[in-house]
């Protein structure tokens, strides 16, 4: 049913720390690997001149011009935010797109999807990609086939992107519980929503990169003050007079 649940008991989601992310793309690869084996994420011409493919997670990199400080590079993973007010769900004509009342995960029932693409249009974040081979919509499942999977060791019961992240920039948990580790992280680090004015009420939060403080003019600046002595000093004075 494409009506959104009034409330969800839990709000499972991700907290992504932009201060810690190094843009290694490991989450992209782990996501693609796990979900290609699960729901299937096709590639077109993967080894050819014009490759293209379906991904549920993409990592962008931006430079941020900061007044009175050196510019900062920020790598930025982008995936489904599992919004409370998910516009992708209500537009779906078939009921394929839905939000679970028990944990807030937004999913696609591929058996009901007609591949009209309207949900991808409705999402401001580009979280949904149509699989060109299967003709149905793909999106982040929050690895629903891992997090409840009792055949996996307990430490693996989290989304593949979180499990693989070598710098621990990705955190998984219940954002409805104010005492959860992710909720505390959001409170401590002023976690924020993407495009809040779009009215989507995202579950996933981003932690801002820390300000690196006013930069020195150049790391090499102290070297410019070296006074040569001895023969080098004599040469320096002589050459200066020429």
């Amino acid at each position: 049913m494409t009506a959104l649940p009034q409330t969800t008991a839990r709000k499972l989601g991700l907290v992504i720390d932009l201060d810690t992310c190094v843009g290694c793309q490991a989450c992209v690869t782990a996501c693609k690997g796990w979900n290609d084996a699960g729901i299937g994420l096709s590639d077109q011409d993967p080894y050819g001149a014009d490759p293209s493919g379906t991904f549920l997670n993409r990592v962008h990199s931006y430079q941020v011009a900061i007044p009175d400080a050196p510019a900062q590079v920020v790598t930025f993973p982008r995936s489904c935010l599992h919004c409370d007010n998910a516009p992708c769900v209500t537009v779906c004509p078939t009921g394929a797109s839905y939000k679970r009342a028990e944990d807030g995960i937004v999913l696609v029932n591929e058996d009901a999807c007609i591949g009209c693409g309207l949900c991808a249009w409705a999402c401001p974040y580009g979280a949904r990609e149509m699989d060109a081979d299967q003709g149905v919509m793909k999106k982040c499942t929050l690895c629903v086939d891992r997090i409840y999977n009792e055949t996996l060791p307990e430490e693996d019961r989290e989304p593949a992107c979180v499990r693989t992240c070598p710098t621990n920039a990705r955190h998984f948990g219940d954002l409805a519980d104010p005492d959860s580790a992710v909720s505390r992280l959001v409170a401590e680090r002023q976690g924020y929503d993407l495009m809040p004015d779009m009215g989507t009420k995202p579950t996933n939060k981003y932690l801002p990169p820390r300000k690196k403080g006013p930069g020195d003019a150049s790391p090499l600046a102290p070297l410019l003050d070296i006074k040569a002595t001895g023969i080098a000093g004599w040469l320096d004075r002589m050459l200066g007079k020429l």
Partner: protein, 290 residues
């Protein structure tokens, strides 16, 4: 947004078809015999051809019947209901006109209203999308409805059809004017899209992927915008001004046919622009404005 030919054809043809069916249902023409057959066939032909074109846009059309299930929330599902209901309710009216069965006109009037409702549901599919600021405005349904009413009045030879056609031109001009400022008014930038505006002014350093993907193909369409100004003049002339002038000439049914062909060409150009000029906020992540 990618101007998919199937969607452009669908919304243009079915818009004109349902507009014409509305006038036929309302009894604007009251044809009989073969004339009634050909006129109703034209209305049904346009509407059904449009709906068929729309199914080519689907990646997985074998589930199409499921699109009737979510009418409580989805405008696309409501459109499915409205279009099928219109075509079913008007069918006996068409038969009654052709074979002079004398069915009460009230059924035709209800069917005509449903035909206009169908066009409204089509328009709302686009209007509801907040992520495309150009579409997210009340002028979008006004434009779709004016197209249907002007086209229907033109095909059914109403004396005031030229007025509606000129009103359509005014609506198009208003829509373009409002639409050009819509993205800025929505207030989304790369800064709000990433939240990095709290740090400084972000710009794209390196693309997230070197090859194309669905998002870029579907929602970050930029080809051909350089011809937008020229296409707008063409759309305005063909969809509105020229057919209005031709209808004023004493050319009879040939005048209507010529006006209709020009109008259809103009409608296709306007609809192409409706998609090609629409910028989706996801483009911000890729450094495009849309």
């Amino acid at each position: 947004m990618h101007p998919a030919p199937s969607v452009i054809l669908f919304s243009t043809l079915s818009g004109l078809g349902f507009g014409f069916l509305a006038f036929l249902g309302w009894g604007a023409l009251m044809p009989s015999g073969w004339a009634a057959f050909f006129l109703w066939a034209l209305g049904y032909g346009l509407a059904v051809a449009g709906l068929l074109a729309a199914t080519f846009h689907l990646g997985n059309p074998r589930n199409a019947l499921k699109a009737f299930t979510q009418w409580r929330t989805s405008w696309l599902s409501r459109e499915a209901w409205a279009s099928v209901a219109t075509l079913l309710i008007l069918a006996p009216v068409a038969l009654s006109d052709i074979f002079a069965l004398g069915l009460p006109r009230l059924i035709g009037q209800i069917g005509g209203a449903l035909a206009i409702l169908t066009v409204f549901t089509t328009a709302m599919i686009y209007t509801q999308i907040r992520a495309v600021p150009r579409w997210h405005h009340w002028l979008t349904p006004v434009m779709f409805l004016t197209f249907a009413l002007a086209g229907g009045a033109m095909l059914s030879g109403r004396a005031w059809a030229p007025l509606l056609l000129l009103a359509l031109g005014a609506v198009l001009l208003a829509l373009w004017r409002v639409g050009d400022a819509a993205f800025a008014r929505a207030g989304q930038t790369l800064g709000t899209a990433t939240g990095l505006d709290r740090l400084g002014v972000p710009s794209v350093l390196d693309p997230a992927h070197t090859a194309g993907n669905y998002l870029k193909r579907e929602m970050i369409f930029v080809v051909g915008r350089k011809h937008a100004a020229r296409l707008r003049r063409i759309a305005l002339a063909l969809a509105s001004i020229l057919p209005a002038l031709i209808l004023l000439l004493p050319l009879g049914v040939w005048g209507i046919a010529l006006a209709a062909l020009l109008h259809l060409a103009g409608a296709l150009a306007a609809r192409w622009l409706f998609f090609a000029e629409a910028e989706h906020v996801v483009g911000l992540y890729y450094g495009a404005r849309g």
